[in-house]
């Protein structure tokens, strides 16, 4: 079956920096695809090339099997990472303004309801809180009832509560079978929302699959964490495990929980305050790249 969007060998070369270095992606209709990576990994450059905002140095982008054209603008919804809106204009005026740019539009009442905008419809857009602003920008991105929605780090800078509210909104949109391309550097966000994740580092996709697939493929391990102060400084090696010092914690990635515990006890390490958890995407990223995601 033809994918809704196909990207082949996409490259963006700025003078000395290769921001995107040969990215190939298939985005199926109705899926939510996450591009995950640290700042500077090339996520935004990649989506902006797909959106037609940035011209690629080389590579191919196909929407419904054809190169993107004017028609694409009518059926794509875009929420940029940083957008200023005109000054001295209210929320409802912004909605009307953007509505007039499109042929097919969603009823404003429904958008206002869905994105919970009614409390500040007459407010100047410059005077919105972070969460209100993101909801307005989401409403603007949805105004043409898009077939494909691009969300570039939509929850960066929001407090945890606002972030969760925003996830709920995206979940509702997903339920309408919309195709979503989301960039984020929050593992949790990608894990919660995406059907498929591509992990980017230095302009390349270093791993790709559903969150569960990715974790299964790379980890059969469990992660044991212990406060560093309980561990003798001489402990550099333990049979069959990877050791990682993170802040005040020691992380032990172990394939055999029983034997690792035994080794620790044999060494006289206290197991108080020990935690055992399944690996997360964060651990995966660390393993794949050798550096932390939010570096």
């Amino acid at each position: 079956m033809q994918a809704l969007l196909e990207v082949r060998e996409l490259v963006k070369q700025y003078r000395e920096i290769r921001a995107v270095d040969g990215i190939t992606l298939r985005i199926e209709r109705g899926s939510c695809v996450g591009l995950l990576g640290p700042n500077g990994a090339g996520k935004t450059t990649t989506v902006e090339m797909i959106e037609g905002i940035t011209t690629p140095s080389s590579g191919e982008i196909l929407f419904k099997g054809a190169p993107i054209d004017e028609e694409f603008r009518q059926c794509a919804g875009i929420m940029f990472q940083n957008t200023a809106l005109q000054e001295f204009i209210t929320v409802s005026e912004i909605l009307t303004l953007f509505q007039r740019f499109y042929q097919r539009t969603r009823p404003l009442d429904e958008l206002i309801e869905r994105c919970a905008l009614h409390d500040f419809l007459t407010r100047d857009v410059q005077k919105l809180s972070g969460g209100q602003r993101q909801r307005l920008l989401l409403a603007v991105a949805l105004i043409n009832d898009p077939e494909i929605l691009f969300l570039d780090e939509p929850t960066t800078g929001l407090d945890p509560q606002a972030r969760r509210n925003f996830w709920q909104l995206i979940d509702d949109i997903k339920a309408e079978q919309k195709t979503i391309v989301l960039t984020t550097h929050y593992m949790e966000e990608a894990y919660q929302l995406c059907d498929e994740i591509a992990i980017l580092d230095r302009g390349r996709i270093i791993a790709q699959g559903s969150p569960e697939q990715l974790l299964q493929a790379h980890f059969k391990n469990s992660v044991i964490t212990l406060p560093l102060k309980q561990v003798p400084e001489t402990l550099h090696h333990l049979p069959g495990v990877i050791l990682q010092r993170r802040n005040s914690q020691l992380e032990i990635h172990s394939g055999n929980l029983n034997s690792s515990m035994r080794s620790l006890l044999d060494l006289g390490v206290s197991l108080e305050q020990m935690q055992v958890r399944s690996p997360t995407l964060e651990d995966l990223f660390l393993e794949l790249t050798g550096h932390e995601l939010r570096a």
Binding site: E51, R73, Q74, N82, F88, I89, R100, Y102
Partner: protein, 331 residues
């Protein structure tokens, strides 16, 4: 071009301008204050120099021509020079070829110059003209309107689009079906009608207090205003085409507007200034605006009389707009 998208962008820009109270009041108050200030400061024409137009070359020694603090301006056209004497723009016209001179019977400067001329033993025959004095403020108002129009056009379009580009407004618009042509024409149209509105307000309010001369038709003046505004808005579009840095745009706009303000005869006439300066001034749209507006208001000129100014302004508008639209980038 879809009209619906054009009007959406047009209305948004109008609203932004009208709601920005500081910019709006600055746009209206500044020119009114300048005109009022000059109207009170120069209740009559206090020019330090006497201005004498001279036709022909002096034969032998002419003592009168050696008197200091009189500016002698060589002129060729007798008719237009006489009308300048009528309007007190020249205090005296001296025709050395036919041994005669003109003064205005209501001009004090003319009287003094006549005494000086007689004292230096001229023996020229006197020709008298009369005519209402053109006060400095009558002469100034077209210039102030032009200056306001220039700043409003250059900064209102040039600076605003650069700011839009810098803070991402343009990027957001680029992602919609709005085309650059629709966007730019909305900006031009919005600024044009705001300028016409503001200029009319400035004209009416200053006229109420100062009551200046208007000998021409208001429709002709409106045409001059429209073409002048279009040419300068288009000049703003060139600045706005690519730059994404407000400081750079500000510097360039100042580099354009200040020489224009000084060289286009807004504050003082370029008559008597070096030929090169006068040639240079003809390259500036503001020169054509002020000259055309003065011709309409002071001399009662019609469209045909000022056709070269109108054509030049229209040509400049088309040229600048072409360059601006062709080089425009959303980002």
């Amino acid at each position: 071009m879809k009209l619906q998208r054009f009007f959406a962008a047009f209305n948004a820009r109008n609203r932004e301008f009208l709601r920005d109270r500081t910019a709006l009041s600055w746009n209206i108050l500044l020119p009114v204050m300048i005109v009022m200030g000059f109207a009170f400061a120069f209740t009559s024409d206090h020019q330090e120099l006497f201005k004498v137009g001279v036709i022909g070359e002096a034969q032998g020694k002419q003592e009168f021509l050696a008197i200091r603090h009189i500016q002698f301006i060589p002129v060729t056209d007798t008719t237009s020079s006489i009308s300048k004497v009528e309007r007190h723009q020249l205090d005296m016209l001296l025709d050395l070829t036919q041994q005669r001179y003109w003064i205005n019977q209501t001009s004090a400067n003319g009287y003094i110059l006549e005494q000086l001329l007689r004292g230096s033993g001229g023996g020229l025959s006197r020709q008298m003209v009369s005519g209402q004095e053109i006060r400095y403020v009558d002469w100034l108002i077209p210039g102030v309107l032009g200056m306001n129009l220039m700043f409003s056009s250059l900064f209102g379009v040039g600076y605003v689009i650069v700011r839009y580009r810098k803070n991402g407004v343009l990027k957001r618009l680029k992602a919609t079906p709005l085309t650059p042509f629709e966007f730019l024409s909305a900006q031009v149209a919005s600024r044009l009608w705001l300028i016409v509105m503001v200029a009319s307000l400035v004209y009416l309010s200053t006229d109420l207090f100062v009551g200046f001369q208007m000998h021409g038709s208001y429709l002709t003046l409106l045409l001059v205003l429209t073409l002048g505004a279009l040419s300068m808005i288009s000049l703003g579009l060139i600045i706005a085409a690519r730059i994404a840095n407000e400081e750079v745009a500000n510097g360039l706009l100042n580099m354009l507007s200040w020489p224009m303000m000084l060289l286009s005869g807004v504050w003082f006439s370029l008559e008597g200034s070096p030929a090169i300066v006068q040639q240079l001034a003809l390259l500036l749209p503001l020169t054509h605006f002020t000259e055309a507006a003065r011709a309409v208001m002071i001399d009662g000129a019609g469209c045909w009389d000022i056709r070269w100014h109108l054509l030049t302004l229209a040509g400049m508008a088309a040229l600048f707009m072409g360059i601006g639209a062709r080089t425009f980038r959303w980002e």
